[in-house]
């Protein structure tokens, strides 16, 4: 399956992915409602977007007590709004912190790869987010380790 591949060194921190995502997922241009989140590193001199890896276990999906999380046509774990009751069990089961909850709708929501045309990848002006048929991975780990090493060392 295709997944979102993050190339953190290309991210400029422009937040267009968050705007595109929130609009696609909730109809609002509101970064707080985006399921891809740009994080700053090194005192806001580096940035990288972070989102669901579509992990093999699908901790959110197996935890859901009413079968409200399924696998959609492009292989993404996806919340069925008419089944979700908003119990938040998925938010504590997901060990990546990529389940979200909308207090307005009382539903959980997450990255569903926009059904195969991810808005974040389309909106990114520097191709820091690409939609590719690769094995999912820890795209930010090495980047963040290197960028934060200096901060942690400096703070010692």
């Amino acid at each position: 399956m295709s997944v979102l591949r993050i190339h953190p060194e290309k991210c400029t921190g422009c937040l267009r992915c968050e705007l595109a995502c929130s609009y696609m997922q909730t109809g609002d241009f509101q970064p707080a409602k985006s399921v891809i989140r740009v994080s700053p590193f090194e005192g806001h001199t580096s940035y990288a977007p972070y989102t669901c890896t579509q992990c093999a276990e699908g901790w959110c999906m197996t935890a859901c007590p009413v079968g409200a999380i399924t696998i959609n046509a492009v292989g993404a774990k996806d919340v069925l709004d008419d089944r979700c009751v908003g119990c938040k069990l998925c938010t504590i089961a997901c060990p990546y912190g990529t389940m979200f909850y909308d207090p307005a709708t009382r539903k959980a929501f997450k990255c569903n790869l926009c059904g195969g045309a991810p808005a974040c990848a389309e909106a990114c002006p520097t191709a820091a987010i690409t939609y590719e048929d690769v094995t999912t991975g820890d795209w930010l780990g090495d980047f963040a380790r290197e960028r934060t090493e200096r901060v942690l060392t400096g703070g010692r």
Binding site: A56, I71, T98, G141, L152
Partner: protein
């Protein structure tokens, strides 16, 4: 002859076991389900109580689905004896079911405070679907509901009671609320938050008796200040349903002692969920975790092993979350470990609290409180779970988190926790979606 699997209990553990057997088996087996109730999810009963979902929404498998899965059912009947020498289970109506292997997943029942009048009319438990039906019929806008007990179960229905327009008073015999879910500081913050939101709370309050006053209930309190309620809900704890197993020959301590395959002391008898005393992921000691996620993981591991796979279970992690009046309250792992190295932080401008606990440089427990509308609360909840579950070495990030307990995300990412988590699955393969369970052809 195809294997004959007997599943006793149609809750989360039992239903996950059935689905997993069907997913994993190479040759179709015979599955029999014995359950005192039709299968439903206890987790969603609060949403039925506040009428945000219909009753039909609570069921996890209808008769048609069970038939499609090829499951023989004995619903509405309790198992009364298990003969582990003859491999036969007897039900309350005398029906006998022979098996090759069996799963005991009979869950827990609500218990009431041992005071006169606790079983009287107008006094309810909120644990089963039948009990939920009893409560939903009684609460009207303006009703005064008194909840006895301030634990997790009580808090799961707090929002629903308020949403129905009722006035709520909570009485708790212990000096504080949520004693088994968060620490003293967290409990104080939640108590203050609830009082601000119009919930009356009396801690250290001992109930001595309940009297029926022509349909209303008077709760006599030891220290005086009696309460009069339209509805009393007893949320005073649960007890595992193990009494029926006396003489069955399975070793029982706090629960049925199970090994890493979730087998009891009788090799062809498994136990899962609330009745099982299995390995705790953090301490690696045996414990009863009467929580939904443990029941789900136990059920799937048992299902795979019943289907002939060799799945060892690494142990279950205590995780709890409850939202009260738009405040998220969650805890993970060994949050009450008094020997752990701990750090905590409170935000002065809003209700937000973190407590992090370490053994060495590994996070072994966490408590988190924050407003549901704070998006980082939800994200941190998951990442704290990931750090505790994976046990990644935090190295220098430990000192950083001790100073900045709210700065979870960079620590999570830079310690490559994602790399540690991605290969982990419960069954050694990608999970299947709920609708993918093979059906009979």
């Amino acid at each position: 002859m195809a294997a004959r699997h007997l599943i006793i209990g149609g809750g989360t553990a039992g239903m996950n076991a059935i689905r997993t057997i069907r997913e994993e088996e190479s040759e179709r087996s015979a599955i029999t389900l014995v359950s005192a109730e039709n299968p439903y999810s206890r987790m969603v009963l609060p949403y039925y109580l506040d009428r945000s979902i219909a009753e039909s929404h609570v069921f996890t498998a209808t008769g048609k689905v069970l038939a499609d899965w090829g499951v023989t059912t004995h619903l509405g009947k309790r198992a009364t004896t298990l003969d582990t020498k003859a491999n036969v289970c007897t039900l309350e109506d005398g029906t006998t079911v022979a098996y090759d292997d069996c799963l005991i997943a009979t869950g827990s029942s609500a218990v009431r405070a041992p005071v006169p009048g606790a079983d009287g009319p107008g006094v309810h438990s909120f644990w089963t679907l039948d009990q939920a039906r009893g409560v939903i019929a009684q609460i009207q806008p303006g009703s005064h509901v008194v909840m006895v007990g301030a634990g997790f179960i009580a808090f799961t229905i707090l929002n629903s009671i308020l949403a129905l327009g009722a006035k709520l008073t909570i009485v708790e015999v212990a000096p504080r609320i949520l004693p088994r879910m968060i620490d003293d500081i967290g409990a104080q913050l939640v108590e203050a938050w609830l009082k601000e939101h119009g919930v009356a709370i009396r801690t250290g309050a001992k109930l001595t008796r309940i009297d029926d006053l022509k349909g209303r209930q008077r709760l006599k309190m030891a220290a005086g200040g009696d309460l009069v309620a339209d509805v009393v809900i007893m949320a005073t704890g649960i007890r595992t349903n193990l009494d029926w197993l006396k003489g069955a020959g399975v070793t029982i301590k706090q629960g049925i002692v199970v090994d890493e395959h979730l087998r009891s002391s009788v090799p062809n008898v498994y136990a899962a969920g609330d009745v099982a005393e299995g390995r705790d992921l953090i301490s690696q000691a045996n414990a009863v975790h009467a929580i939904e996620p443990t029941a789900q993981e136990h059920g799937r591991v048992v299902g795979a092993n019943m289907a002939g796979k060799d799945i060892r279970y690494r142990g279950s992690l205590i995780i709890n979350i409850v939202e009260v009046c738009h405040l998220d309250v969650a805890s993970f792992g060994a949050w009450d470990d008094t020997q752990a190295d701990a750090a905590s932080g409170v935000k002065a401008d809003r209700p937000a609290y973190r407590k992090l606990l370490w053994r060495g440089d590994r996070l072994t427990g966490a408590i988190i409180l924050g407003r549901s509308s704070d998006i980082w609360t939800t994200n941190d909840v998951g990442m704290l779970k990931g750090l505790v579950q994976s046990g990644v070495s935090l190295g220098r990030w430990k000192a950083h988190l001790k100073k900045n307990p709210f700065d979870v995300k960079p620590a999570f990412i830079a310690t490559k926790t994602t790399s540690a988590l991605l290969p982990v699955t419960i069954l050694g393969r990608p999970s299947k979606a709920p609708g993918e369970t093979p059906v009979a052809v």
